[in-house]
C-alpha cells in the first residue's frame, strides 16, 4: 500500500525519510547492538578456511582454503548425513508446523475458561523438560519389555519390536516426541495472534449464521495467516540445523543409518581434540544452505501471496 498512487520519486523518498526521523533514531539502538555484537565478530568466518589452533591468532593461523569443505563433503558418510538431516527437518516441519496452529485454533474456541487455561498451562510445561530426561522418557515408554507405549502397540499388532533401534521408526519417534514437547509452547504465538483478531468480526460472522467451524476458516485463519506464513518461511531457515543432543542420546548402531545427522558427526569428530576449523567449515556449509533455502521460499511466498519477509 503506498501513500500516493503513482511513481515514487526521490523527492518523495527524501520527504519520507525526514518525516520518519524519529523511527531512525529508534532503530539506531538495536541496529548498533547488532552491528557491534553480530558484525563485529563476523571476521571469524575465515576460521573455516584456515587450520586454526587457539594458540594462534585468527589471522596468524595457516590458510587451508577449501580443505575442510572438501574433507566434509567427500567423506564416505556425507550422503547419508545430508539425507538424514534434511529428511528429519522436512518431516519435522510437515508434522510439527500445523499441530500448534490447529491446537491454538481449538483453544481459542473453547468457552470454558478454566479448562482452556489448564490445557494451555499443561501443554506449555513439557518445553522445560531437559533433553536428557526427554530421551529417558522416550526410551522408557518404548522399551519393548516394560514400556507402556510399546506394550500397548504390541497388544494391538502382536509384534514385539525394539522401536528405538529400528531405522525406519527413528524419524517418526524423533519428530513426534518433539511435537509433543513443543506443541504448547509453539502455540503461544498463534494464541497471541488470535487475540489480536477484531472481535466484532466474530460477532458479525455469528450474526451471519456462521458455524464455529466456518468462523475458524473464514475469520480466524485468514487473520493469522500472515503470522503463519512468516513463521513457515522462517522455519526453512533452520533445515540444516538439526541439533545434536537429542539425536546423540537416541542413536545406536542399529538405527545409525537413519539417525546420523551432520551435527552428531561433527560432535564425534570434535570429541578428541578441538576441531575448530572443521566444525566452522561445516557450520558455514549449513548456513549457506539455510540462507539459500530461506531466500528461495521467501521468493515463492512473495509470488504467491502478499506476506513475505522482505
Amino acid at each position: 500500500m503506498t501513500l500516493a498512487s503513482g511513481k515514487r520519486t526521490n523527492q518523495m523518498r527524501g520527504k519520507r525519510i525526514k518525516k520518519h526521523w524519529q523511527l531512525y533514531l529508534l532503530f539506531l539502538v538495536p541496529l548498533a547492538s547488532v552491528l557491534i555484537f553480530s558484525y563485529g565478530p563476523m571476521y571469524g568466518i575465515v576460521i573455516a578456511f584456515k587450520n586454526y589452533v587457539v594458540s594462534d591468532s585468527i589471522w596468524g593461523s595457516k590458510w587451508a582454503g577449501l580443505k575442510h569443505f572438501r574433507e566434509f563433503i567427500g567423506s564416505y558418510n556425507f550422503p547419508r548425513l545430508m539425507k538424514n538431516t534434511v529428511g528429519i527437518s522436512i518431516y519435522g516441519l510437515l508434522a510439527g508446523f500445523p499441530v500448534p496452529i490447529i491446537f491454538a485454533l481449538l483453544i481459542n474456541e473453547c468457552p470454558n475458561v478454566r479448562f482452556k487455561k489448564t490445557v494451555q498451562m499443561v501443554t506449555y510445561a513439557p518445553h522445560f523438560i531437559s533433553t536428557v530426561v526427554m530421551v529417558s522418557l522416550i526410551v522408557m515408554f518404548l522399551n519393548p519389555r516394560s514400556g507402556i507405549l510399546a506394550k500397548a502397540i504390541t497388544s494391538m499388532t502382536g509384534q514385539r519390536i525394539d522401536y528405538i533401534s529400528a531405522p525406519k521408526f527413528f524419524k517418526t519417534i524423533y519428530v513426534w516426541s518433539g511435537v509433543w514437547q513443543s506443541m504448547g509452547f509453539s502455540a503461544v504465538i498463534y494464541i497471541a495472534a488470535l487475540a489480536g483478531v477484531d472481535a466484532s468480526l466474530h460477532e458479525a460472522a455469528v450474526v451471519d449464521g456462521a458455524s464455529k467451524l466456518q468462523k475458524i476458516c473464514h475469520v480466524d485463519l485468514p487473520s493469522i495467516m500472515p503470522t503463519i506464513v512468516i513463521l513457515f518461511i522462517l522455519s526453512f531457515g533452520s533445515v540444516m540445523s538439526v541439533g545434536y543432543e537429542k539425536i546423540y542420546l537416541m542413536q545406536n548402531q542399529l538405527n545409525m543409518a537413519t539417525s546420523d545427522v551432520i551435527s552428531t558427526f561433527v560432535y564425534r569428530m570434535g570429541l578428541l581434540q578441538a576441531q575448530y576449523s572443521f566444525s566452522a567449515a561445516v557450520g558455514l556449509f549449513n548456513s549457506v544452505i539455510n540462507a539459500a533455502l530461506l531466500v528461495i521460499v521467501n521468493q515463492i511466498a512473495r509470488r504467491v501471496g502478499e506476506t513475505s519477509l522482505w
Partner: protein, 323 residues
C-alpha cells in the same frame, strides 16, 4: 458478509458501525443458541483437547512422581504414576547446596534485566520495520536477517566481549543478544497486521509524531505480542547456561542453571578414574536428580505463564476504531 478479505473490507466506515450495531444487537438478543453443527464441533473440540491434556499430562505427572520417589524405585523402573516410597532426597540434595539461593537470585536479576532490554530493543527494531513508508526497511531487514545465518563463532565473539570490558559482568549476558532477529520479525508481523492502518492515518491527521503514536497507541494495543516476547526472552534467559558459564568467572555471580548442572554432573560422574567414594553416591540418586532438577528449574517459568496468559484476551481491538 464476512469473507477472507474481511480485513480490507474494514476500510469503509459503514462496516465499523455495523460491528458496533451488531454487538449491541447481540447483547440485546441474549445468549446465542448453538446450531447442531456447533454442538458437534464443541464435542470434537473438547475431546481433542482432553486427549491432548492426557497425553501431555501423564509424562509430566511421571516426572513429578519420580522426583518424589526413592532412588532405587526410580532406577528399577517401579515408578509409573505416583511416587513410590515417597522421598524428598532429590530435593534435599539440591537445596543443600549453599550457593543455590544466591544463584537463584542472580538468575532472577539477569532474567529481569535481560528481558527488559530485549523487549525495548525488539520493539524499537520491529516497529519502524513495520511502517510501510519507512525508507530502507528492506535494507535494514537484510542486515538483520544476515546475522541469523552467519556469525564469526565463539572465539571472536568472546574476544570482542572481553575487549569491551564486559567479561565477568552481567552485561555480557544481556547486551549481545539484545534482539533476536526471529522475534523482531514476529513482532514486526504483528504490528503490521494487527494494528489497523486507519489508526495511523487518524493519528497522522491529528499531527501526532511517530514515537507518540508508538507509545500511546501501538503498545497498548500490542499486549499479546509483548506478552509473547516477554515469555520468549524470559525463558531464554532463565534456561541459558552456556553463555553464563563462558562469561562469568566469579562463583558469586553464577546463575541458577550453572549450579543445577553442576549438581547433576557431580552425581552422574562415571569417569572410571574417580575415587570409589564418589561412585558410591548412588547411581539411583543421579537418575532421581534429573527429575527433581527439572521440577526445581522450571517452576519459576511455569509460575510466570499465567501472567502472560492474562494478556491473551480476545477483543482488544473492539472500540479501537471509533469515529
Amino acid at each position: 458478509m464476512v469473507t477472507a478479505r474481511g480485513k480490507s473490507a474494514r476500510g469503509s466506515s459503514g462496516y465499523r458501525d455495523l460491528g458496533r450495531r451488531l454487538s449491541d444487537k447481540a447483547k440485546r438478543r441474549g445468549p446465542i443458541r448453538l446450531t447442531p453443527a456447533d454442538t458437534v464441533f464443541n464435542v470434537i473440540m473438547y475431546a481433542a483437547l482432553a486427549f491432548v491434556l492426557i497425553i501431555v499430562a501423564y509424562p509430566l505427572i511421571f516426572v513429578l512422581s519420580a522426583s518424589f520417589s526413592e532412588p532405587y524405585a526410580v532406577i528399577s523402573g517401579q515408578v509409573w504414576l505416583y511416587p513410590v516410597r515417597f522421598s524428598t532426597v532429590g530435593y534435599t540434595t539440591i537445596f543443600r547446596d549453599a550457593g543455590l539461593m544466591r544463584t537463584f537470585l542472580n538468575s532472577v536479576h539477569v532474567t529481569a534485566l535481560g528481558t527488559a532490554i530485549n523487549l525495548m530493543c525488539t520493539v524499537m527494531a520491529a516497529y519502524p520495520l513495520s511502517v510501510k513508508t519507512f525508507v530502507g526497511r528492506g535494507v535494514f531487514m537484510g542486515i538483520l536477517s544476515f546475522t541469523m545465518f552467519f556469525g564469526g563463532g565463539l572465539i571472536p565473539f568472546f574476544l570482542l566481549v572481553r575487549n569491551l570490558g564486559l567479561y565477568n559482568t552481567y552485561w555480557a549476558l544481556v547486551l549481545p543478544g539484545a534482539i533476536s532477529v526471529y522475534n523482531v520479525i514476529v513482532a514486526r508481523t504483528f504490528f503490521s497486521t494487527s494494528i489497523p492502518y486507519e489508526l495511523y492515518e487518524a493519528a497522522e491527521l491529528d499531527g501526532c509524531s511517530d514515537i507518540y503514536y508508538l507509545i500511546r497507541v501501538v503498545l497498548p494495543l500490542s499486549a499479546p505480542i509483548l506478552a509473547v516476547l516477554v515469555m520468549y526472552y524470559a525463558v531464554g534467559h532463565w534456561n541459558a547456561y552456556f553463555n553464563h558459564m563462558i562469561f562469568l568467572k566469579d562463583k558469586a555471580k553464577f546463575t541458577f542453571q550453572i549450579t543445577l548442572r553442576s549438581i547433576l554432573i557431580q552425581n552422574q560422574n562415571s569417569d572410571m578414574m574417580i575415587d570409589a567414594s564418589v561412585l558410591q553416591r548412588q547411581q539411583g540418586l543421579a537418575d532421581l536428580l534429573k527429575y527433581s532438577l527439572i521440577v526445581v528449574s522450571s517452576t519459576p517459568m511455569l509460575l510466570l505463564y499465567p501472567f502472560i496468559q492474562k494478556h491473551f484476551v480476545k477483543g482488544v481491538m473492539v472500540g479501537a476504531i471509533k469515529g
